[in-house]
């Protein structure tokens, strides 16, 4: 059976950073990615990142992949990249099963595993929500920013979180009209600088509004929205109709956690982390020995913190299998303080209280 020191499931921001720090610790690393290239969601983020220099702030997401891959290249003697491959099973005895190109199925036995699978998009239920022209925001970004294809001509954006605001801006950059951004919440959820950016281009934002229904015979032709009250209940006779051929649904993400559940990791629903997440120790190890996790798969946050969590999980996983980085303590301290810094604002307080619910302490006594 194929073996490796550390298998990393997912080649997005968390997985790539985990690979860099595990490889720099001396471990043999296999990065398993379901797409045909690495980078994950970074490859669609044309905007400049927030955070500080250490998390590549002011650099565009699309350029961060290249920076991380250059770093990985330094360790190419011990890093294996397995693209176009899904991890379909993760078992308690730490065997993982892989499906390459939907055809070749095989097993791998790593010493440790880091699950950095990211997140999946939530969807919204409303009448006719399966009409062609109704997309998730991730699909719109993939079409536009990976393949250079416009999703349509006139878009209603559903969701005023960071993704909804950013994708609206990107649509305008691509020459697609965004007729409005709506959100059921009474306040804009994303960064206000992103909101101001799209507002001054003339895109209205309607908070306390949700989708009533989509109208169209063979594809989306109209979207009907209505206002909601303080309990998110629709208010009759507040309908507005938009002529649109695209509705872009951006109503949040949930941790992609199936592999962790399958392995038997103890999980908990934590609303501040946006879904079911594994209990974990401060070294990012789950309740199953030698199975680690980092990034959105253990709680929805920004890519900046996913990268730092990845660095930490990589260091710890390597240390666990006897490959301790020469400046292990120093690095752990640096990354930990970066995370604390990222989380020391109002948004970060929610994340920290979420983590507080799932982080376990070891009793070394």
């Amino acid at each position: 059976m194929k073996t490796t020191d550390i298998a990393i499931v997912g080649g997005g921001p968390a997985g790539l950073c985990a690979a860099i720090s595990a490889a720099s610790s001396g471990a043999r690393v296999s990065i398993i990615e379901r797409n045909n290239s690495l980078g994950g969601q970074l490859n669609k983020q044309t905007h400049m990142f927030f955070g500080s220099e250490k998390q590549y702030a002011a650099t565009r997401g699309i350029d961060i992949t290249g920076i991380l891959l250059n770093e990985i290249k330094k360790y190419e003697d011990r890093v294996e990249i397995i693209n176009s491959t899904n991890v379909v099973g993760l078992y308690e005895d730490q065997i993982i099963t892989l499906m390459e190109n939907e055809s070749k199925y095989y097993k791998m036995k790593p010493e440790a595993i880091i699950v950095a699978t990211g997140a999946y998009e939530k969807f919204l239920s409303f009448s006719n929500n399966d009409l062609p022209g109704i997309y998730g925001a991730g699909a719109v970004q993939t079409l536009m920013n990976i393949y250079g294809v416009k999703p349509g001509k006139r878009v209603l954006m559903v969701g005023a979180g960071n993704i909804g605001l950013i994708v609206s801006y990107q649509l305008m950059q691509a020459g697609v009209k965004v007729v409005a951004i709506i959100d059921a919440a009474p306040k804009i959820g994303g960064y206000l600088v992103h909101a101001s950016k799209v507002r001054r281009m003339g895109i209205p934002i309607y908070t306390s509004h949700t989708v009533k229904e989509a109208i169209g015979s063979s594809e989306l032709e109209k979207a009907v929205i209505w206002q909601v009250d303080g309990n998110f209940q629709p208010i009759p006779n507040t309908e507005t109709i938009f002529d649109v051929d695209v509705m872009c649904i951006s109503v949040g993400l949930s941790p992609l956690n199936e592999l962790l559940s399958m392995a038997g990791c103890e999980m908990k629903y934590v609303s501040f982390l946006s879904g079911f997440v594994p209990y974990r120790y401060s070294n990012y190890e789950t309740t199953i020995s030698n199975i680690f996790t980092a990034g959105d798969s253990c709680g929805i946050e920004e890519a900046s913190s996913a990268m730092v969590e990845g660095y930490l999980a990589g260091l710890h996983a390597a240390e666990k299998i006897g490959k301790r980085h020469p400046s292990f303590e120093e690095r752990v301290q640096d990354y930990t303080s970066q995370l604390n810094n990222l989380r020391s604002g109002p948004e970060g307080r929610h994340i920290l209280s979420g983590i507080n619910q799932i982080e376990r302490r070891r009793d070394y006594a």
Partner: protein, 164 residues
């Protein structure tokens, strides 16, 4: 209001702007950053130490108008595109207003374009005084416009759209 509409109030804007004496002296940065988020490229990119955030990167930036030279580096580094440069030293009737611009096509110097306010509403046609882009700006272009002084607290964006 800002958190419901995405549009800062005029009071918020006026508080953000440097005093008119400073604007009339020469180019100076205007930072429209009203929310504590983890972000500090404006401070770390400033070669003159004019922008301060401090150890907690969630702090709002403060600007030392005595140190700001209006060099525009922060304008291109702000991920929120929240920084503009205003210069009132050139004319009694107009200010030179430089904004980040990431749309295509770019306007050309001398073009007349539609000036928009913070809600994207049309204000007036304004003249493009300059368009700068270089590798260091990393695809955030700087467009400088001639904005009448009575519009300077409202102006914030442009549109090249031709309205029939």
């Amino acid at each position: 209001m800002l958190e419901i509409t995405g549009v800062p109030t005029e009071a918020q804007i006026r508080e953000t702007f440097p005093p008119i004496e400073a604007i009339d002296k020469g180019p100076i940065a205007v930072i429209e950053c009203f929310q504590e988020i983890p972000c500090n490229p404006c401070a770390t990119s400033c070669r003159f130490g004019a922008i301060y955030i401090g150890d907690n990167i969630n702090n709002l930036p403060t600007i030392d108008i005595g140190k700001c030279t209006g060099c525009s580096i922060c304008l291109t580094k702000c991920p929120g595109l929240a920084i503009s440069i205003i210069d009132g030293s050139k004319s009694k009737d107009y200010v030179h207003f430089s904004i980040p611009y990431e749309m295509t096509p770019l306007p050309a110097t001398g073009d007349m374009v539609r000036a928009l306010d913070r809600e994207g509403r049309y204000l007036i046609d304004v003249k493009v005084l300059g368009v700068r882009s270089n590798k260091n700006f990393d695809r955030t272009n700087i467009v400088t416009l001639e904005v009448p002084r009575d519009q300077m607290y409202r102006f914030r964006s442009i549109s090249l759209e031709v309205i029939e």
